[in-house]
């Protein structure tokens, strides 16, 4: 009897849940766009992403590897406004504009890979800990605590140092460091959501744990993870560029931190441009995602009040 009657109500519920979700998404977007600082963040993000996507159109890609800076040995350290080098060149003839534009692409690659990796690992670990509880939870959370004891940048620095200087190792190092926050957020959320009556209800109906997790727990726990992921899209580029600046990338790649480091030697001689422009890009990138993430948190989680 239960088997016969069950499907109809479920699809109905699913359908209305869809509609509710769609309407909520609409409302969300509206209230997001009402906040001028959020909109400013969105504008920065769109401009920078546009730059990353259209990099090959804005500047002629270097051959064979477009992520490698082209060198113009005839124009070393020329100031901005020089013919062929609108933003000038570095001490070793790297076109600053090229670095700025392709750096956006490098940063996009870095942040997308690291954020997807860390969210995947963090959500998995946090879910296991929160959903299973008991001993597994205890052990996993101790590990998380240990990871959180080491300051982020220093941890990433040490890992990247051990692995050897390369951009790929920076990605790895950041992934190792950044997943813990998600595990912690996810676990707290799941423990909170698990208390809800609809989870009990699903259990009473006889849903499997897996189904309860996918249908009821995960969708209701993921919001803070999304907010954190948005903020981390910015933070990861910030930390990644810092590691590159210290010297943990290959020299000569089109990456903002590398360019700032390349330009650093010239500032005492008054060559301000090759550090200033790429550094500003890192700032704008992080600022954009911070502003947007902040607005997102205000809208998604009315409890934490930051501005109004």
């Amino acid at each position: 009897m239960v088997d016969v009657s069950a499907p109809a109500p479920t699809t109905m519920v699913a359908d209305s849940a869809w509609r509710v979700r769609a309407r909520r998404a609409g409302e969300l977007t509206l209230s997001l766009l009402k906040n001028p600082t959020t909109v400013a963040g969105l504008v920065f993000i769109v401009l920078l992403l546009g730059m990353a996507v259209f990099a090959p159109i804005i500047t002629e890609p270097n051959t064979p590897d477009p992520y490698q800076m082209p060198r113009d040995w005839d124009a070393l350290a020329v100031p901005p406004g020089s013919p062929g080098h609108i933003l000038g060149t570095t001490n070793v003839g790297g076109d600053v504009l090229y670095g700025v534009v392709w750096g956006a692409r490098t940063s996009l690659r870095l942040s997308v890979i690291v954020v997807s990796l860390t969210v995947l690992i963090g959500v998995t670990v946090g879910s296991i800990a929160g959903f299973r509880g008991g001993k597994i939870d205890e052990i996993l959370m101790r590990i998380v605590d240990v990871f959180l004891s080491i300051p982020e940048l220093i941890f990433a620095l040490a890992i990247a140092a051990v692995l050897g200087p390369s951009f790929r190792n920076i990605i790895l190092a950041l992934a190792v460091v950044f997943w813990v926050k998600y595990a912690r957020i996810m676990r707290a959320q799941i423990i909170h959501v698990k208390e809800n009556e609809y989870v009990d209800a699903a259990r009473v109906i006889g849903d499997s744990s897996w189904r309860i997790y996918l249908k009821d727990v995960l969708p209701n726990s993921i919001t803070p993870v999304i907010v954190q992921a948005t903020l981390d899209m910015g933070n990861i580029v910030l930390v990644g560029a810092t590691l590159s600046f210290i010297g943990l990338s290959e020299a000569g790649i089109a990456e903002w931190g590398v360019l700032v480091s390349e330009g650093q030697a010239g500032i005492s001689a008054g060559r301000w441009w090759s550090s200033t422009f790429p550094g500003m890009m890192v700032f704008l990138w992080a600022l954009g995602f911070n502003l947007f993430g902040d607005g997102l948190r205000d809208v998604l989680d009315p409890r934490t009040e930051t501005s109004r």
């Binding site: 004891s149 140092a161 051990v162 600022l287």
Partner: protein
Amino acid sequence: MQIRDYIIRRLMVLPVLIIGVSIIVFALTRVGGTPIGVYLQTGMTQEEVAQLEERYRLNDPLPVQYVYWASGVLTGDLGWSGVAAAPVTEVFLPKLAATMELAVSSAIVAVVLGVALGTFAGARRNRLPDHITRIFSISGAAMPLFWFAILLLIVFWVNLGWFPIGRSTPEIFARIDHPTNLYTVDSLIAGDFGAFKDAIWHLILPALTLGYGATAIIARMMRSSLVEELQEDYVDAARAKGLPERLVLRRHARRNALIPTVTVIGLSFGFLLQGSVVAEIIFRWPGLGRWMADSVLRGDQATIMTYVLFTSILFLVVNLFVDVIYAYLDRRVVLGE
């Protein structure tokens, strides 16, 4: 009673965390194979290498190696720093002093400025000063330290020439004794005002660089907790007593708003430790951070291990300290209803 229990509980977790961190640090050095390369010198024979391996127990199983290393650390043997060309323990203290001098002055700047700014903004909620502070704070979270430092250098060192680079003017530094290795303190002990001025002069730019991010974090927390406190009944009660708004803010709301801000001050200390690596590179500050950066580039494992272990323990202890202060200050949470 409850505060004591809380402190005991926290103190019991601390060694577990420290052991955990030491395992991670140890594991890191073994990820890239054996650390034998550090000890190798050109022209060594096979036998000599084998002797070295024997001496440093590099052929034993990993847990044995860990215990060997950990007991070394506990007895004060932190290994040989290739970068400093000296035992780590020997170079550590003067460099730590240099870093602490920088970090503590930045922390002072950050706390004073952050609290003042947060109070100013929170008391003028949603008015122009509040919006400006908000932009300032978010920019602080998004500001790459290395870029901010370079901008300051370009403006104040290259173009205006107002501030120097480095930690000291060598001649002035050499003319006084250094019992504490803190330049500012030493110059005061020596009674050398010129040296003190030199110390402060060199401190300003790096402290500003390092302090900005922490200031932003503290200001933001202070602002939002003040806004929250200002909506509490006791604020109206204070007004109803006839207190002027200035006192309502200072004696009543700010006192309570400071309590949650304390926890952020602990976290921003981690921010200062991390930032010191970059700030010390750019301002050529002879501290731990710059040593670490050099070691990272030259594979100096003893230094990297020491540095990560040390900063983590420092970070943990500072946060424990801060949490205890918080528990003590916030009577509502620990002892309240």
